[in-house]
Symmetry: C2
Subunit: 278 residues, 2 copies
């Protein structure tokens, strides 16, 4: 724990995984076109939080869907984050920010009060991210190898040094987090690695022995939890498996909360087996 500050993010994660038994995160992507009819964004997100709080360790609100709500969107995001933390969940703000240093300080100040961790984009380099790293107790997940097909356009480009860009970025993330390791042995600087690329998840684990891997793409994007065992070779908090649409839109009728709870429980069961095997 920092002096007078918040506990280290990775230590809090290890504690939560110990209590819940599985490192499952549910993505909150509230899209009115997919949500149950007559349910508002805030009500929907609170309902999902209630449905998954007993089995998930974290929720990952995606800032885009709140910004798309217009003028009140940011207030709704703040409310949902507060509601999830009150329910005992860690909040990972999926914002993928990255900007020049004077602006990065403003982004860090915007997200640190809302969330336990935030996702960031490395394209602007170290000085665009150090304000996030410096926030006491904040976890930071740097995009390394993303889950979307188009990620290869830049991330898989071969460098002159002989490896693809994403592996070089993984090496940078390992350096950036080296001095930010918690009592549990894991750093507050983690990496986003698409669960849709299991081979790359295993390679990222080798390149990032101290980092928690945030693993989106399970469910709607086609990834499967049992393929992700490599992430957990450093312990049951070594990965955070994230599913969004497959959980929150498991049923779009009156049974939406029960369906989300059931799908989260099913995934958590798969994950318990994976993490034990890992």
């Amino acid at each position: 724990m920092g002096v007078g500050g918040a506990a280290h993010f990775a230590d809090r994660l290890v504690d939560a995984v110990g209590r819940k038994g599985a490192s499952l995160c549910v993505g909150l992507d509230p899209d009115p076109a997919l949500m149950p009819e007559g349910v508002g964004v805030a009500e929907f997100c609170r309902g999902i939080v209630d449905a998954v709080a007993s089995v998930a360790v974290a929720v990952k609100p995606q800032s885009a869907f709140f910004e798309a709500q217009g003028r009140e969107g940011w207030a709704t995001l703040a409310d949902v984050c507060e509601y999830a933390r009150d329910a005992g969940l860690l909040v990972i703000a999926d914002a993928k920010r990255g900007d020049v240093p004077s602006t990065a300080r403003a982004y860090a100040a915007a997200f640190a009060p809302l969330a336990d961790a935030v996702t960031v984009n490395p394209y602007l380099g170290y000085d665009s991210l150090e304000s996030f790293f410096a926030q006491d107790g904040l976890g930071v997940f740097v995009l390394v190898k993303t889950s979307n097909p188009g990620g290869v356009d830049l991330q898989d480009l071969p460098l002159a040094e002989g490896r693809p860009l994403w592996q070089h970025v993984a090496g940078l993330v390992d350096q950036w987090g080296a001095d930010l390791v918690g009592a549990c042995g894991l750093s507050s600087v983690g990496a986003v690695v698409g669960a849709t690329f299991p081979q790359e998840v295993a390679e990222a684990r080798q390149l990032l022995p101290r980092s928690v891997l945030l693993l989106p793409g399970v469910g709607a994007q086609g990834a499967r939890a049992p393929d992700l065992a490599a992430a957990f070779t450093v312990g049951p908090a070594g990965g955070i498996v994230t599913a969004s649409r497959s959980v929150i839109y498991a049923d779009r009728g009156v049974g939406w909360q029960e369906a989300a709870a059931a799908e989260a429980e099913r995934l958590a069961g798969e994950l318990r087996a994976v993490a034990v095997a890992g």
Copy 2:
């Protein structure tokens, strides 16, 4: 003009530069620690808009500083954008977003109603940006070579193909914008190239013959307008020179509006000379 839609961004820019005589953009980075005492964020931004509207073609609100305002920040951003457009200015939302396709659609929906153009990050590749490109009339500025010192960490990495990453990205941006060229001959897909790197601005102009170059970094970050003539070899709207802190914080006392107007006028004068020379 798209059928029933908004005019092409580059055509609107060319028109605005023709009317104002200089392609100057003023960045709106409202930081309470730097703003005149007793002036709120919305009041400050409206005051800057009033001060620069006669000489600038655009303002560039930086979303971070609005998000840092908390619950009401997004509504303030929306108000400021509306106020600037009512004052006859183009609005470039400096958001640097980039995410997987389902999320990118939400970001595009969030920003298209607010702004004439938006900045985006290419690390996730084409499918993360195509929702922005598809918005009728929206300009899109893709980060290519950023103005901050840390930008070299990724952007200057030498690729196996023999050039640095940023030049490869410039080539992609040229491809992505090839089918989105307006009547003026410029594409709605532009590129962010730090004015702090004049040599790279000239190289970017070669690699991106159809793109408007958004050139931040003049003033507080040390760049000078007269070094940017290469951007304007394709015409007076070939570049958008952006200054933020040096204009909006030119004076932090009671004369803040007059000082901002004077500094904007001084820069516009420099730019008129540059664009004519270009």
